[in-house]
Structures are given as structure tokens and as C-alpha cells.
């Protein structure tokens, strides 16, 4: 239902930028497409397949292999909580629980108002700031249950 209203023009534009060299650039095409739509709707993947001649099964295979791609709509802000070793040792689990409690979602889910999507990542490479999380492209380090509450509240408004 919802898919029918999706504007497919951006897909054509993205694909056309890659000349005829589609296969090796499939991941880049999918990354750019996801940046535009926020996720990868079925009709969009079908359109990519049509334009590039890459079979839809292969596109689906790539999309489901890499953790960056998503088949469902995302929230306005992505909260990525680091699950790296240093963060684990420094008690990130408590932080994660607090965020879950505030947003009322579990990992991988999006809030009902589409404001936030909660994700965990293996390591964002800022171990010296553990425990760490990212909201969109911004880092927040040395988190406590208090500071994380403030951050979530700040982005809620």
C-alpha cells in the first residue's frame, strides 16, 4: 500500500551516476539509496534491479548480509550504542537498559513516533571514552545513566 506512493526518481538519478559499471558499485548504490529513503523499500529494490540488470535475489542477498542495510523505516535519529570490549567492561549494559526504558523499544526497533531507532554496534573505535554511544554522527562518551537520560531528552524535543 504505502510502497505505491514512493517516488522512484531519486533511484534513477543515483544509478545513472555509476555509468554502466553497476555490479561492483551495488553496495555504494544501495548505501546512497538508503540515505535518501531512510531504508530500502521493496519497490525501490525492484527499481534498482530493473535499472541495473542485477537480479533482485542478489540485491536482497546483499541487503540482508550487511548490518548497515534495513528493510523497514527508521526513526529520525539513530542511536547506536557501542557494544565493544571496553564499553562492556565499563558497564554499557546499564546504559543500554536506561535507553531502552526511556524509548520503550529493544535493540533494532524504532519508536512508535518514528523519532528514534535503537541499534547496537560492535565497536565505534572510541574505546577511551567508554561507555560510548552515537546519535546520528555525533559521539557521546563517558556515559552515565544520568547523562544518557539528558541526551535522549535533548533529542526528543
Amino acid at each position: 500500500m504505502k510502497d505505491k506512493t514512493i517516488d522512484l526518481k531519486p533511484v534513477a538519478k543515483i544509478v545513472s551516476e555509476y555509468g554502466r559499471d553497476y555490479e561492483p558499485n551495488l553496495i555504494a548504490i544501495l548505501q546512497e539509496t538508503q540515505d535518501v529513503y531512510g531504508y530500502l523499500p521493496k519497490t525501490v529494490m525492484k527499481e534498482i534491479s530493473k535499472l541495473t540488470d542485477v537480479p533482485l535475489t542478489r540485491i536482497f542477498g546483499v541487503v540482508t548480509f550487511y548490518s548497515q542495510f534495513t528493510l523497514t523505516p527508521r526513526g529520525k535519529h539513530a542511536i547506536k550504542i557501542c557494544n565493544g570490549t571496553a564499553c562492556h567492561v565499563r558497564g554499557v549494559d546499564e546504559i543500554k537498559e536506561k535507553v531502552k526504558e526511556h524509548l520503550n523499544v529493544v535493540e533494532g526497533e524504532t519508536t512508535a513516533d518514528y523519532k528514534f531507532t535503537l541499534e547496537t554496534v560492535a565497536c565505534i573505535g572510541t574505546c577511551f571514552l567508554a561507555p560510548v554511544m552515537m546519535v546520528d554522527d555525533r559521539y557521546f562518551g563517558k556515559l552515565t545513566t544520568d547523562t544518557v537520560t539528558d541526551i535522549v531528552k535533548e533529542y526528543s524535543n
Binding site: 570490549t85 572510541t126 574505546c127 554522527d137
Partner: protein, 548 residues
Amino acid sequence: MLNRLKSYDDLLAMRKSGNKKLKKDKVKVSICMTGCRALGAQEVYEEFSKQVKKQKLQDKIEVVETGCQGLCARAPVMTIDPPDAPSIFYGRVTVDIVPDVISSTILKGEVIKKLCYAEAGKKIPYLKDIPFYSRQNKIVLRNCGIIDPNSIEQYIGRKGYDAFAKALFEFDPERIISEITSSGIRGRGGAGFPTGLKWGFCRKAKGDIKYLICNADEGDPGAFMDRAILEGDPHAVIEGMLIAARAIGSEKGFVYVRAEYPIAVNHLRNAIAQAKKLNLLGNNILGSGFNFDLEIKMGAGAFVCGEETALIASIEGKRGMPRPRPPFPANSGLWNQPTNINNVETLANIPVIIAEGADWYKQLGTKNGSGTKIFALAGNVKNTGLVEVPMGTTLREIIFDIGGGVPGRHGFKAAQMGGPSGGCVPEEHLDLPIDYESVKAVGAIMGSGGLIVMDNDTSMVDISRYFMEFVQEESCGKCVPCRVGTRKMLDILTRITKGEGCRSDIEDLKEMANVTQSASLCGLGQTAPNPVLSTIRYFMNEYEALIK
């Protein structure tokens, strides 16, 4: 203005002008604008620039955005370099204190005590006196935290691209390879394969097109040196790639970088654009007839893509799954052409080896590993950050002398080395000189250099379960031993941590670890049991206490 460099003389002229920019006639204020951004470096930088302008101090003060300065525990950090006095290091700098830093430290030469690094209750204002810095030997991180990573002029001003010019005009490819081989450098990404040998295989391989790939898919949780190099000194990696390309005979390179590192991608992209403008990348480089083009490929979130053959599949636009070797990438890699893959830190070493010579490089380190290694120091340790030391340095020196020891009352228990492929090193091995072989002998691996310090409050069974959960999630599922083995081991470990373990669990774990190790297709599965085996080896009592 960046003009094309048509010859070596043009490069030398540019070095002169770049050098002028680095000349200390002003007070240089270097602010880390990479990792420190997480704690407000951006705001501090903006305030500093605003104040300098407002107080009309542009002739006196130069504010420089740099990469990582190493002592991340004190973030946000800044270094103040007066023209005729030693450098002052400040940490935990806030926006409010910026006017004070200008009026007291820069204009009057007075040190602000509360911003200084402290050890044993004593404030240490000068960078050269801080043990964290004075005990390091920065070869790879030579420019990191000193130059503006977005300025190719500053890089060239510090003799950047000079080693490449030497490799281009003075050495033939065989000579480059023999220099790298005799330097004894081994891959810094984890496996420790001799770099010169690898290049030689690719040079000798038959093929019209040869590819060069920089593996910047730094996925080990707890390792962040490659991120810091790319963010703080991206041209060093490009220069290393240019030398490697000339050695193996490649005209096309890729940098495969994690999408989770936005600043690194940004700085690298900018560096490539600048190098192209100067014709340090492209056709007929420096008028020599040598061509090399470089492209960034972004990863999409898959740990297994750090494995060579999986990484190649990913660049080809496929699911990043490994394949059996042989054929090795040196003979049949990207699009079935001979391909050479090196890690970021390895490539950043190359210009130094060519510039200073293999004999000089060999003096650093041990018989089994020459040169330095960067460790990412994190966990329960005072001075978290990046540490570069010669191979053969002991863990005690890194963790206690440089790292400042374990804070709190619990005390040191173990150091986790090598991430999910590595193991835990207990107190009894703290005095072990670290190199590839010695670390392996005690059940861990050098790996990419992640070093997580754990205090006595840490449960080693929980750590073992944590790593198993990580590799189980990241296992691509292609081969059975890894797919099923990691799942089964995780089930057992989870049961034990919940206090529901049974007596046969340890034997089952060991047996499954053995099979997964010997029968998995790629490095991910082959090393996945290491954290379990090393914790069983040194901390069996903790398993027993939970099973009882």
C-alpha cells in the same frame, strides 16, 4: 592554491613553502578534532578561534585542528607550542577556560595547574616530562596530532611524499621489495605475514592488471589505531600505497574503510582529492610516467570483511563471504586479478622504512618483529589512548609506566590482547617482551593491537561469553564448524554465566574449540575459540566457581 607538481623539483619547492607554514614564529595551539570531539573539542576550537579574532591575536596565535594526540583519557586535549619554550599539554579543556588559557598561558607564560596532567599528586605541565609521551617512540604516529590532517602542504612540509619520490626515481621495484623484506616488517592487521614477501608474490604473479587494497575495515572491538591514522595523517597511508603500487606494478588501488568511521572517511576523501590536484595521484605522477589511481570503498557493517577474500567479495559488490585459499589473492584476487592487501598501520610504516632505510628500521624491535606497534589502550587503565612502542616492550611498561596503572581499588587482573581472535594475558606474564611469537606462546595474539585492561572486578567467564557472542553474530554462516561451533560454545558459556553449567561443560567447550579452530574456512572461525581457551587456561577457577 594547489598546483600540479610536474617534477621532483616542484615537490621540493612545495616542501619549502609548506615548511614555512610550520615555522614557529607564532604560538601554535593544536586541538585534537577527532576522537576528542565526543567530549566537546569542536566547541573549544570554535571558542578559541573566536577569541583570537576578537582580541586581534592572529599574528601571535595559530590555532590548528589536528588528529589524535594519544592521551585520550584527558579529552578534550590541546598542546600549546610557544616559539621558544617547551610544549605545554592541557587536558579536559572547556569552553569557559579558553579566555584564561589565552591571557595567562599564551600571553604571560603562566601554566594553569588544573588543566595539567597529574601523576602521584604532582602536576606535569610540559609534554616532554609526561611519562605517557616520553616513553613512547612515535614512528607511525609521527605526524598524528601535530599536523592538520586536511593540509597536504603541512604533510609535504614535514618531508611528506619524499620517500615515495625516492622509491620512484632512485629505486626500481625489486629494490623497493628487497628493502621492505630486509626491514623485517610484518603485517600489522593481525596475522603478521612478512610484508616484503607478500609484495614479491604479487609482483611475480602473471596478470595485466594488478590491484592494491588498503584494508581499513578495522572491526576488532577495542582497536582504534587505524581510525586514528586515517583521521590524523591520511597522507601517510596514501604515500605507503603509492610505494606499494610501484613495487608490485599496480595502477589501481582501493581503500576499504568502515562506514562507522565518518571522520576517517571524510579526511581520507579530502586527502585523495588534494593528492589528485597535485598530481601525486593520477597519470604521469611527478613527470615519471608512473600512474596510480585511488578509490574509496565503504564497508556496510560486516566484521568478516576484514578477512582478505571476504573483503574482495565485498568490493566486487557481493555478500562478503570468504572463500578457500589457494588461490591466494596475490595470484587471483579482485576480479580474478593479482591483488595485494595491506593493513592501514602497515602502509603507514612504509614511507619511514624507505626514507630511513631497512637497517635503521631493524634496530627497532626484536628478532621476530621489527619496528614499532601501536596499541589501543582501554578498559580499566588510567591513561586510555594510543601508545606506540618498539616491539619487545613489556606489558608492564605499557600498562603501568605509560598507561599509569589500574585505577580504583581492585587491581590488575588480565590484559585482553587481539580482540575476539586473541586471549587474556594474566599478571604472571606482565614482564614478557611483546612480539608476534611471544604473545602467541602465552595463548593470545598480537592481533591488530587492541589492549583492554581488566581489573579484579571483571568476570573472565563473562568476557569469554562476550567475545563468543560477538563472533557468533558475525560468523557469515558459510562453513559449518564456525556457524555451529560458535553457536554451541555460546550456548554453553551463557548457561555457565547463569549458574546453570554442568561438569561436562568444560570438556565439551575444549572439544568444540578444537574442531572450530582446525576445521573453519577462514581466520574468523579459526581464531574464534581463542578467548575461551585462554580464559580456561588461566582462570579455570572462575569457571569452576560458577559451575559448582
